[in-house]
Assembly symmetry: C2
Homo-oligomer: 304 residues x 2
Amino acid sequence: MNQAAYVAVDWGTSSFRLWLIDRAGNVLGERRSAEGMMAAGKPGFANVLQSHLEAVGAAQELPVLICGMAGARQGWVEAGYVDTPAPLASILRQAVKVPDQDRDIRILPGIAQRDRNAPDVMRGEETQLLGALGLEAKGDAIVCMPGTHSKWVTAGGATVERFATFMTGELFDVVSRETILSHAVNGADEAEDVEAFKAAVIAAREAPAFAANLLFQVRSGGLLFGGTAAAAREKISGTLIGLELAAGLAGGIPAAGITLVASGRLERLYRLAFDTASVSVRSIAAEDAARRGLAMAAAAIWNV
Amino acid sequence: MNQAAYVAVDWGTSSFRLWLIDRAGNVLGERRSAEGMMAAGKPGFANVLQSHLEAVGAAQELPVLICGMAGARQGWVEAGYVDTPAPLASILRQAVKVPDQDRDIRILPGIAQRDRNAPDVMRGEETQLLGALGLEAKGDAIVCMPGTHSKWVTAGGATVERFATFMTGELFDVVSRETILSHAVNGADEAEDVEAFKAAVIAAREAPAFAANLLFQVRSGGLLFGGTAAAAREKISGTLIGLELAAGLAGGIPAAGITLVASGRLERLYRLAFDTASVSVRSIAAEDAARRGLAMAAAAIWNV
């Protein structure tokens, strides 16, 4: 049997993922749970981690590398931020050791943009960036990382120059669940309405100022012309993603296209959205990016 | 004592307002309650109206004119829509009589824009428009009617040419109550932060595509630089109102400026917002506009 070299943990706001990794980078064991930062405070971060380490049979001396919200002020141990422009190599160097532990446990810092006109923070995505771009990246890149709080990152080589967070995913949730539009979306099945989605992306990109009007059209269009719940959901989704793209693509697109860090439904939707703008996309699954970033960091820190 | 000539009712989604009016337009009696369309279904619209008519001592033969959501499909009696371009005079002509009542009760129709690329509906605001513009209006006008679902109306003379609804007020509610920004806004007192509001309006008007990013800055700015709950609330409010203005003012501004139908805090905020765009504004309180519109309609229908 391969021998484990270290443990990698992506500890987000609402999810916990752990991988037991060998020297060659193979995954020997894996754990997933909903014990994210919000849930882990009560049982205690150390206890949550310990139970999962035992479940995968991690040896006592095995080091653990963590990224994500476990390093937030409301998390386990505050891991601070690297400020922009942030070389990805600094993230490795500024990992914070969790005190008073039997084993070597370190948490990677986030990145802060301390610009009063465009303040921004990320925590967890910096590790995905490391995985997606690598420490040897050359040239300019734009990385789109969709989610509850989507991040758009401008990188020069292996340095994060600037970034912006868009509340796209969270807006989709509250708009489709908590507003008058919830009636139109109610009962939507999983069927995707690609045409409704694309049309909404195009409309929002062409007239982003009309976003709050385009959203209301989900209701008024339904009243006057009918329509399915799936089409209503896709119109909300397309409007908000189109609004995000209008901003993200405003500064121009590198020759290499866009790097998309996403998987599943989000990856499909953002690919469709980029299609409407004729932007070429190379994508990497968010989880793979995080694990690859953690592997690079572990290699640099422990030479594993 | 003056003799009552008719009863005017503004029956919205969540509010009910009734006025007993004499021939000269004086208000002899008034009722307000939360028995809007949503609440009136259960006790019955006829019963709710009757109880308020008795409370103001309305005589048995007194006619009643109603505008608003009581005329919606989910309301009392469906009063339909006048289609754009909609002469305000058509609204009077298409009032619908409530059947099987002892007295003459009529409900004014809404306005529909049956354009597949910009479907829209209003119900209640058409009566405020009648009150704000009158049947003899000349020239072009843009009317801004802020609220849960703000309406922007382009009128040529006394005809509604086009309009657009923006979910500004409802977005403000869900964003400030149901998202991660709620922590930043929590505990905000009534104190207004005019500078934070104006700065947010300007930023959103300049870069509407960045709306979902400007909203997130309420959180990231607070994390990196601190700030009051009132400033956080005003930044959310200013961002959403600035986004609305970016769209509403995109088509140019008539020489006469903008007609603003609003009162209280909303009137103050929209005035501040228009100030940042150097747009001149004449405002009329929403309730006065509705009552004036109902008076014009009552005069035309019953010659009172």
